[in-house]
Amino acid sequence: MKLTGSQIIVESLKKQGIDVVTGIPGSANLPLYTELHESGIEHILARHEQGAGFIAQGMARRSGKPAVCLATSGPGATNLLTAIADAKMDSVPVVAITGQVALPFIGTDAFQEVDTFGLSLSITKHSFLVKDIGDLPGIMRDAFNIAASGRPGPVLVDVQKDIQNQSIEIDSIPDPLPLPPKSAPGEKEIKEIAEAINKSARPVIYAGGGVILSGAEEALRIFAEKASVPVAVSLRGLSTFDHYHPLYMGLIGMHGNLSTNTAFNEADLVICIGARFNDRTTGNTNGFCPDARIIHADIDAAEIGKIRRSDLSIVSDAGDFLEALVNYSEKKDRSGWISRINELKKIHDKDFQLPGYHPLEIIRTVSNLAHEGSIVATDVGQHQMWVARTYPFPVGRTFFTSGGLGTMGFGLPVAIGAALADKTKTVLCFSGDGSILMNIQELATLADLGLNVKVIILDNGQLGLVRQQQELFYGRKFIATSFRTHTDFSTIASGFGIRGIDMNAARIDMAQLESALKEPGPCLVNINISGEYNVYPMVPPGKENINMLTEDMHE
């Protein structure tokens, strides 16, 4: 059959099971868009390409399958880059297809020409520049395979406009490649690791996003319960373990629990599963778990020993590792160690009698009022850390945050993408007045779609997490962190055609909040909070996790 480049792309998307794509058309990808017209593939028109990239991330994060975003050449492609870099840092399978100027214009500084391939190289798992239409079917097949296989990540396919228009005779569109088989964890390594765990008196589990990517939440629970090992999580590991489980220690690291960081300091063995010893988790690496042996299990061989030397390591999918490990782990009574951790929780994680207008209490209130099993997305800032510390996430792909890149503007479009991928759930998007403005145009996309996305803005009139650093570490020299004017977000929401509600934290109308959270359709709730709250406890940058600043030390 004879197909154009655009037809090859669209047919390849169908072969890969893609039924929704998101993006913005422009000159260099119009042939592709024209082919989408009667393809049966739903197109979500974002209002900014970065929004499109994050909507694709939301779909991929919720479904676990590759999602697709489209952009034209030049600014369309450069606008996508932040979302692509974010996907790389958080291992999200996104396939970005960008239009490029036609071959005769390459290198001439043509209108909307930019070296998308070159710009993308260090922020993708792989990038393709299609220079021959004959390569296109194989490239499309490979792009999805690379994005989804092993440790997932973003793949960019840059397609020149003339290649989109050219035709070629091909037999068929290639079938999707099977994902490479996961190598079974070696029995010898598993036995060594199990032996180390069996001998340990004070072991802890440090679970990361790899557990969620593997779908290994249940395997983690079974292992932790059998071996009686307490579980802490990284930011990306939130929702791997039941928030109310007696073995759960919560978040570790810069804004983790003091009890968790203290327990890690006292541990004699750390079992790191699907995590990468990120600096926000370890603090000063030299002081991280100084007395502990380290076991590191990760699907990516490059992560082993990258930041922290491990005593025992294994390159393995988290689920395969845990399922093999549980067979060799002894049922242990570690009641002494667990009692010690509970004691640390009582000492350090005092359940302050917080007033109802405290951000943590507002988040608890929202979690109580929202539909059970709601999905949560956040932006980046103080609200992100408050949510991470407080919200009782249901287990498994229910919490989406920009963990690695820390991209403000992430929340709203990712929430839209998550809602597209799972229309049975309500998606709560917690944001701040700084973050929401970085992709607020996607409220228009949300209005188009009418999805159950509830945007909750904790509005403190400033870039709170930066102001907090200025207060604590930069001699209170506040600059460029306070907004001079107050933005009326509820009116903005109304302008986009979305119900907007404005509240003061001290006078929250519970009935109104509950109806906003539960009634079908999108809604924006702006809650004005005091600008004086800091996120505590906190590890000062460069310090060891044990040296946390706490609220009573500073207020």
């Binding site: 391939f117 190289l121 061989a301």
Partner: protein, 77 residues
């Protein structure tokens, strides 16, 4: 093992060398010399990369092997 010099076998196509250059640049590894020659009837290329300082304090070979274009990478014997 000479951790100043890496040998990389990669698929040969437009962009492979740029991808490798980007890899070293992002990791702040100064490349003193990179020489590449076609191999396997032109389908592959064999690159020798001499770094000004040890390629990394950690082993960067697994990172190179993560790249789709790279078939094999190792430190020079």
């Amino acid at each position: 093992m000479n951790n100043h010099t890496l040998v990389i076998r990669a698929k040969k196509h437009a962009g492979t060398i740029t991808t490798l250059a980007s890899f070293f640049s992002r990791r702040n590894i100064d490349v003193e010399k990179m020489s590449c020659s076609a191999d396997n009837c032109g389908a592959e290329m064999l690159c020798t990369v001499k770094c000004s300082s040890p390629a990394s304090v950690t082993n960067i070979v697994p990172h190179l092997n993560n790249m789709h274009d790279v078939i094999d990478a190792y430190y020079s014997e």
